[in-house]
Symmetry: C2
Subunit: 214 residues, 2 copies
């Protein structure tokens, strides 16, 4: 891959993801869903900032937008970083294993590549979890005409979080560094619980408002 | 918009979605998330079909792939159909309303445009709900090496379903055709319950297998 997927046609990314190529896989796709979720909160805030009607929350809206845009940038980068990292894992598994020396080198390379491969979904997870409160705050801050888009942001942020988590876990299952495994498991468990509650709260609040015809 | 978004760079779609343009909005983005979810089930099946090891489930895998690829085609089409339909709603709201005649014409145009605008998210919803059982079946049929991707498919299919539903509901809230509103509400309520259960079951089964290191 010479060109970054985010710079290329969506159609091509979707075709490659669906095909029998190892990548893009679940980590990349979940990063993309995270980026898509963030855009909806950004749009809601961009329809708030600069409008007289919402001048009282302008500073708050700007701060939310800044945090959420940064999370999108991380997710967008992970769309392609995940593809590259996956290539390293494949290369390590393809190493020779005829002698004990080779086996040892291969095992070390696989372990190193798995750690590298875990990083993009972990970064996606952290970026999305880190702005779940900001997305929740959009319910109170953003232009009410875009309330359903805030709900869509929360729904897709949640999916990105869960998809990224699954891709962290698939790497953890093969990693032998037990201290690292325990630390990451602990982090994703705690953060998931916190972030999922916020996503559900946001979704519920939005559904109530939409049902009321605003 | 002259070019379809799915044919253009992902980066551009994300920027336009995040910006203060009315579209792409939540309906389009949810259709995109649906397409992304489908690709992961397709990939898992494409790593199953044609392999000696899975010859016993080959026919079943092909049938699942065909259904899921069709659902992806519907979602991909809705990425752009949602943008076009939203344009009609904006145009209708922009109609003159100085006289009673004008008001009547504007109201009729808005109601008609809202019905049109509801269709793409409803089609996304139906396409995704229609293959949730197929995605669930991938847990038993697809190559176990891709189990986490089947989980990612279920997670993003669920998000697409919920995001599309919210965009159907925002239109229902303003539609005056009470028979249509009641019929659609009834359909999405029933189908959501069924499809969400399947998505959760799939996610749970995949999480157990991943935790077991397969």
């Amino acid at each position: 891959m010479t060109q970054a997927y985010v710079e290329g046609p969506m159609q091509e990314y979707l075709e490659d993801a669906a095909s029998n190529r190892p990548a893009p896989g679940g980590g990349s796709v979940s990063a993309m869903v995270g980026a898509l979720g963030m855009t909806m909160a950004e749009m809601a805030l961009n329809f708030t900032i600069g409008k007289k009607k919402f001048v009282e929350v302008e500073e708050k809206a700007k701060a939310l937008l800044s945090a959420i845009s940064e999370a999108r940038a991380t997710c967008q980068a992970c769309v392609d970083r995940d593809v590259s990292a996956y290539g390293e894992v494949s290369a390590a598994y393809g190493m020779p294993r005829a002698t004990d020396e080779e086996k040892k080198a291969r095992t070390a390379a696989i372990q190193s590549a798995l750690k590298t491969a875990m990083q993009p979904p972990l970064d996606t997870f952290r970026a999305v979890a880190g702005v779940m409160q900001a997305i929740r705050d959009c319910v109170d801050v953003a232009n009410p005409n875009l309330i359903s888009d805030v709900g869509v942001a929360a729904i897709h942020a949640r999916a990105a979080l869960e998809g990224a988590r699954l891709n962290v876990e698939i790497n953890l299952a093969y990693l032998k560094d037990s201290d690292l495994v325990a630390a990451v498991r602990d982090e994703i468990e705690k953060e998931s619980n916190r972030a999922l509650k916020l996503a559900e709260e946001t979704h519920r609040l939005v559904t109530c408002r939409v049902a009321g015809g605003e």
